[in-house]
């Protein structure tokens, strides 16, 4: 697998003097599925905004497919790195769902037939094809979020960044969003998602990057990260309840448990091992 994102001792200090990122190194390979977690203000969003050039490093370097982001405009990087913002209302500006999704490809000057194909595919992916001529303002928040998503997908970026895709959505919509992201990951997209929901992290992410105070606290496989609840505690995060429960019984569950199904699988048949009582 080849490297797609390479971050070298990145620092970012805002003009207000706030040091949001204090020298981090990350390498992400093509096709990875990475969760970015950490408290509010730990530098997660500042970090991902460097990946499509919205922010430029104040020190260090960021390379996307070998391109130095400091030397590229955001509009040039947009076709490689798609960034879905938290609130869809910050971007919806067209009269129809179709036009909204075509916004990006149009800015990239694709041919007309190509744009139509991209819109079709993107709307199909988010399951909104039937609404293509509807005004986005008339749709629900969850649907608008999917439109925002489709409007990034239509540019076919190889890296997808999703900033808290589940805020303001109910559990079912949140899961549906992550299922969609996970399908895209299987089709070869590299995915980075920011979230506060550890259950979603346990279920979907292959690798977890934990931010704390502008630094990276941990950067490991999901299972390994949740195996260190004490380290996570430093930044007021904790593994999913089921993982914590399993960790209370280290003699039974030697490996880190990530889901109820896994726990059941690893649970020895307690009933059969109980001493039999004599009912006579």
């Amino acid at each position: 697998m080849s490297t797609i994102i390479e971050v070298k001792s990145l620092c970012h200090t805002y003009s207000s003097g706030l040091e949001a990122i204090r020298g981090i190194d990350i390498t992400i390979d093509e096709g990875e599925f990475v969760a970015i977690i950490g408290q509010n203000g730990s530098g997660k969003t500042t970090f991902v905004k460097h990946l499509n050039g919205l922010l430029k490093p104040t020190a260090g370097q960021v390379f996307i497919k070998g391109m130095d982001t400091a030397k590229k405009r955001v509009s040039e990087l947009a076709r490689h790195v798609g960034y879905v913002f938290q609130n869809p209302d910050h971007q919806i500006c067209c009269d129809t769902v179709e036009a909204e999704v075509a916004f990006g490809p149009r800015n990239l000057h694709f041919e007309k037939g190509d744009i139509e194909r991209r819109v079709q595919e993107a709307l199909q992916a988010v399951d909104l094809l039937e609404y293509r001529t509807v005004n986005p303002k008339k749709l629900s928040k969850g649907q608008r979020q999917r439109i925002a998503f489709a409007s990034i997908l239509s540019m076919k970026p190889s890296v997808l960044i999703v900033d808290e895709p589940t805020t303001g959505q109910d559990y079912r919509d949140g899961i549906a969003m992550l299922e969609l992201v996970s399908r895209l990951n299987q089709n070869g997209h590299t995915v980075l998602f920011i979230t506060h929901d550890m259950q979603l992290v346990a279920k979907y992410a292959k690798r977890v990057v934990v931010f704390h105070d502008g630094n990276i606290l941990l950067q490991k496989n999901t299972r390994e990260v949740f195996a260190e609840p004490e380290t996570l505690e430093q930044t007021f995060l904790s593994p999913p309840a089921i993982t914590l429960l399993a960790q209370r019984f280290p003699s039974i569950y030697r490996d880190t448990i990530l889901s109820t199904a896994e726990m059941l699988e690893k649970t020895p048949n307690l009933i059969s091992s109980l001493p039999r009582e004599n009912n006579a």
């Binding site: 905004k49 499509n52 919205l54 405009r73 955001v74 509009s75 947009a78 076709r79 798609g82 960034y83 913002f85 609130n87 209302d89 910050h90 971007q91 919806i92 500006c93 916004f103 990006g104 800015n107 990239l108 303002k137 409007s151 990034i152 540019m155």
Partner: protein, 268 residues
């Protein structure tokens, strides 16, 4: 962007109306004096107050950005007044046709300096008020002491409060559109205006939504449901009275000086 800074100082403790009076006095003095030297004294007075208010750093930073505008004022005044000896012309006399145009005269230089300093003196007092007074207190002083109707005062502060919110929303919208390869290209003015739509539409929508929510929460908190009382009352203290006396003397002296012809300068 100037905003209230929570600090302890003499200036912070002054009654908002006293501070507004300081601003008014500075403006009157800046408008009446034309001699650059006297204007410098006015600026020095404001700086002294800024030091007393422990906000000199903010004031100087603000004045640095304002220097650009002061410079434009200086250049314009220089070019449009042609009195007294001419020092040089912007377009050298050796050039054909336009040679010798845009002369810079002695009068122009003095007027330019005076006007730039006047702008400086007037704007230098804004940080003094804004960084040391909570907007809420300015409104309360207007409502309680000057009997401005509360609705209008509220409207005014809400508008002020909205500016930074809208600015931060526009920044996010701009970034969101940039992420979709949005770019303003070319020099065609009509295209440029049209290119503004992807920023304008979301911000209008968000602003209306925010106003709507604000209205609702105002109603829920009983806005306009009867006579308003306030928890924190503002009082004039001895130091306020002292300031008022000094301001009064300053204005009186300035007017007297101008009648006597002191503090003005001839431009020829």
């Amino acid at each position: 962007m100037l905003e209230y800074l929570y600090k302890q100082s003499v200036i912070h403790r002054l009654h908002p109306l006293t501070k507004l009076s300081i601003a008014a006095t500075v403006m009157v003095m800046a408008m009446l004096f034309t001699d650059p030297l006297y204007l410098l004294v006015v600026i020095a007075l404001v700086m002294a107050l800024s030091i007393a208010g422990t906000i000199i750093k903010e004031t100087l930073g603000y004045l640095l950005t304002m220097a650009f505008f002061a410079f434009i004022v200086f250049v314009l005044q220089c070019l449009f007044l042609n009195k007294g000896p001419i020092y040089f012309t912007i377009l050298p006399a050796s050039w054909p046709v336009v040679g010798g145009w845009l002369p810079v005269s002695h009068g122009g230089l003095i007027l330019g300096t005076a006007m730039a300093l006047r702008v400086f003196a007037i704007v230098s007092v804004f940080p003094l008020i804004i960084t040391t007074t909570q907007p809420r207190d300015i409104v309360m002083s207007l409502v309680e002491t000057l009997k401005v109707p509360y609705d209008y005062a509220f409207m005014f502060t809400t508008a002020l409060r909205f500016i930074p919110i809208i600015i931060s929303e526009v920044t996010i919208i701009y970034q969101a559109q940039l992420s979709r390869a949005y770019a303003v290209e070319g020099w065609n003015p009509i295209k440029k205006i049209r290119a503004f739509a992807p920023i304008a539409f979301p911000i209008i929508f968000i602003a209306i939504e925010k106003a709507d929510r604000l209205g609702l929460s105002m109603e829920l908190r009983g806005f306009n449901s009867g006579k308003r009382t306030s928890f924190k009352k503002l009082h004039f203290k001895a130091v306020d009275i002292l300031f008022f006396m000094v301001l009064f003397i300053l204005i009186g002296t300035t007017v007297w000086m101008r009648i006597e012809g002191i503090g003005s300068v001839s431009f020829s």
